[in-house]
Amino acid sequence: MFEAIFLQFLNGLDKGSAYALIALGLTLVFGTLGVVNFAHGALFMLGAFCAVLFRQLMTMETITIDPTKLSPWGAPLEVRAPLVQAWFGDFGAVLVNYSVPFSIILTIPVMLLVGIAFERGIIKHFYKRPHAEQILVTFGLAIVAQEIIKSIFGPNPIPQPMPEAARGAADIGIWLGMQANVITYPIWRLVYFLFAGVIIGGVFAFLQFTTFGMVVRAGMADRETVGLLGINIDRRFTIMFGLASVVAGLAGVMYTPLLPPNYHMGMDFLVLSFVVVVVGGMGSLPGAVAAGFLLGILQSFASMTQVKAIVPGIDQVIIYLVAVIILLVRPRGLMGRRGVMEA
């Protein structure tokens, strides 16, 4: 029984990591700019498609027709030569194999630019407008982003292979002194969890230990006063929006081997991550992270057959149910500050 529970706990971690990362970005945007960003799921999706794009670039081939050889059907044989291997040799093969982690290099600048363009282009005009209009305009942006991706990459999911080394499962039970094959866990999920930990730690360290982060935190607490001190807080907040989209994008990139990216994956995650943000408390960064993991793990427990036997369908609604209860009983969320968006 203990093994089963522990296994469900582990299973919840990877979904929880994704929720936590997306919710972290959402909260960063809400805490700094006060904008309710319905396009955040689309940023997650754009990040995932950065990985797709990177892999397509890395696997570009030259096709030459070799007339001397014939295929089994008697047609001249096509010789495909991967370009990257031709240029970089063995390193090219490594690039293709590790295309998902390597695409982070592409994702960071792309997402930073996309985020800053979003903020400067549209969202900046909506600071003073009501939340309902912010929701509407970002919802529209999300539709636009997802339709652009659909028209470029098509409507079908594009599976992304994980690096060969990360295929298969790790026997975690042995590490903990249990018998072999009791608790096995796919390596890539473990990687995703660790990656999420690094990103979350990085964001918190950035806010806590750098001068830039200090100014941003001060701006979150009292924007006006920071502005009066002669600091261009708007520009810093713009950069924070870029950072939030990078976080969402990275969450998307590393999630691709677990879920083949399609154009509407952002919307699927967005609703859940909004719920996560609300459960954690609007504007609370630790709350968002904690609620992300909490809800991921709860969802995983709810999908156990023993639990489903007691309450049928609980796995489908558990997250929403928690959100409804939290909103009705404690609207500022688990770790929200008193008075922030409390209505």
């Binding site: 509407l136 636009v144 028209s151 959100a323």
Partner: protein
């Protein structure tokens, strides 16, 4: 009805005439076929009802598709269990969706602003997920609820024997198909528009507008706003249920995807596009979206190259390539772009555009309606 102010009466009569004459004046646009006209009427009802909650009261619900879906299911169940007549189906659907809205509204309206949106969203997603999984005996899961040959139809059986083949929905014996179905839907559109108009002009409607402009002040004046918001929520839920039932009557089939949150998003788009808070706006928004959904998605490369035929060869090819991204499969991209532009530049929707043009033509006469354009309205209870 005779007690209506003259302006309202003219608006109502004009609207009724426009709706009834739709098969005629939509002819040049290529939209005058019953199937599309039905959708025009049905989604207009949905949007008019949504506007009572969002436009008048200021509560942005992201879960209205749940009531729409419940209305569809209820209507199909009435076909299966009671009778193929449309009247019990409509009654059943409106009552069930009203009760459903009462339950959800009672809980959701404890919060306002973004929390209200997320609560309704959560409830709608719960219903959607449950309709797909546990409630399969009621909803028939992914396949969708359909009529079948061995349905009970107790009321019908009392009077006559079952015929061979699947029956289709009727109204007192008249089969509802083609233009009969459209005029049936059109009747309800006109009736619901009339009710919405009366609600807007009534003291109750004034109360709702007061809640939208400043709920806190309303509370401090000693008004308990909860019953008013709940009533608005239930009314708009019943409108959604009615629309869902009408969709099931014109096509006896109900699927869970009607309850998904993107469907809720669509009615929000319609209302905003046309102009939230106005009476005619949501109707226009619904018509525009349904029209372009049908027309834009039918355009293919052949039509495009004809359209760009006046350009030289190379330019024509490029123009077709670029514009093909915005039509056919990609019409949603056009919708998204238009929607973003509307929210940014014309928050009052098409109706505000009309008003601006009207005031440009008559510059010295400020229209009284522009005073309550939704652009300047503050959010409820913030």
């Amino acid at each position: 009805m005779l007690a209506m102010p003259r302006k309202d009466l003219i608006l109502f009569l004009g609207f009724a005439a426009a709706v009834l004459a739709m098969p005629i004046w939509l002819q040049p646009f290529g939209a005058a076929y019953p199937d599309l006209l039905n959708r025009f009427a049905i989604f207009a009802i949905f949007a008019v009802g949504f506007n009572i909650l969002f436009g008048l009261t200021g509560y942005l619900s992201f879960g209205h598709a749940a009531f729409f879906g419940v209305g569809s299911y209820a209507a199909v169940w009435s076909f299966k269990l009671l009778s193929m007549d449309a009247v019990p189906a409509l009654l059943f659907a409106v009552i069930i969706s009203g009760l459903f809205a009462l339950a959800i509204g009672f809980l959701s309206l404890r919060r306002s602003g973004i929390y209200f949106s997320i609560l309704t969203l959560a409830f709608a997603q719960m219903s959607y997920n449950l309709a797909y999984s546990v409630f399969t005996p009621i909803t028939n899961g992914e396949t969708g609820l359909q009529l079948s040959l061995n349905d009970k139809r107790y009321l019908d059986r009392m009077f006559f024997e079952a015929g061979a083949g699947l029956p289709s929905p009727t109204l007192f014996g008249v089969t509802l198909s083609g233009y009969v179905a459209f005029y049936f839907c059109a009747f309800f559109l006109i009736a619901t528009f009339f009710i919405a108009q009366r609600v807007t002009g009534s003291p109750f409607g004034m109360m709702l507008k007061g809640i939208k402009s400043n709920q806190t002040r309303m509370n401090y004046t000693g008004v308990n706003t909860r019953p008013y918001t709940l009533a608005a929520f239930v009314i708009s839920g019943m409108y959604a249920g009615l629309a869902g039932a009408l969709l099931a009557i014109t096509d006896p089939l109900a699927g869970a995807e009607r309850m998904q949150w993107t469907a809720s998003g669509e009615v929000v788009l319609m209302t905003i596009l046309g102009g939230a808070g106005t009476l005619v706006g949501p109707v226009i928004g619904a018509w525009l979206i349904k029209y372009f959904e049908n027309i834009f998605s039918a355009i293919n490369d052949g039509i495009l190259s004809q359209f760009w035929g006046f350009l030289p060869e190379g330019a024509q090819h490029t123009a077709v390539l670029i514009s093909s991204k915005f039509v056919g499969e990609g019409w949603f991209l056009t919708l998204g772009l238009v929607f973003v532009l509307i929210v940014v530049f014309l928050p009052g929707g098409v109706m505000e555009g009309v008003r601006r043009i009207a005031s440009m033509i008559r510059p010295n006469k400020p229209t009284p309606a522009s005073a309550d354009s939704s652009a300047t309205k503050p959010h409820p209870a913030e």
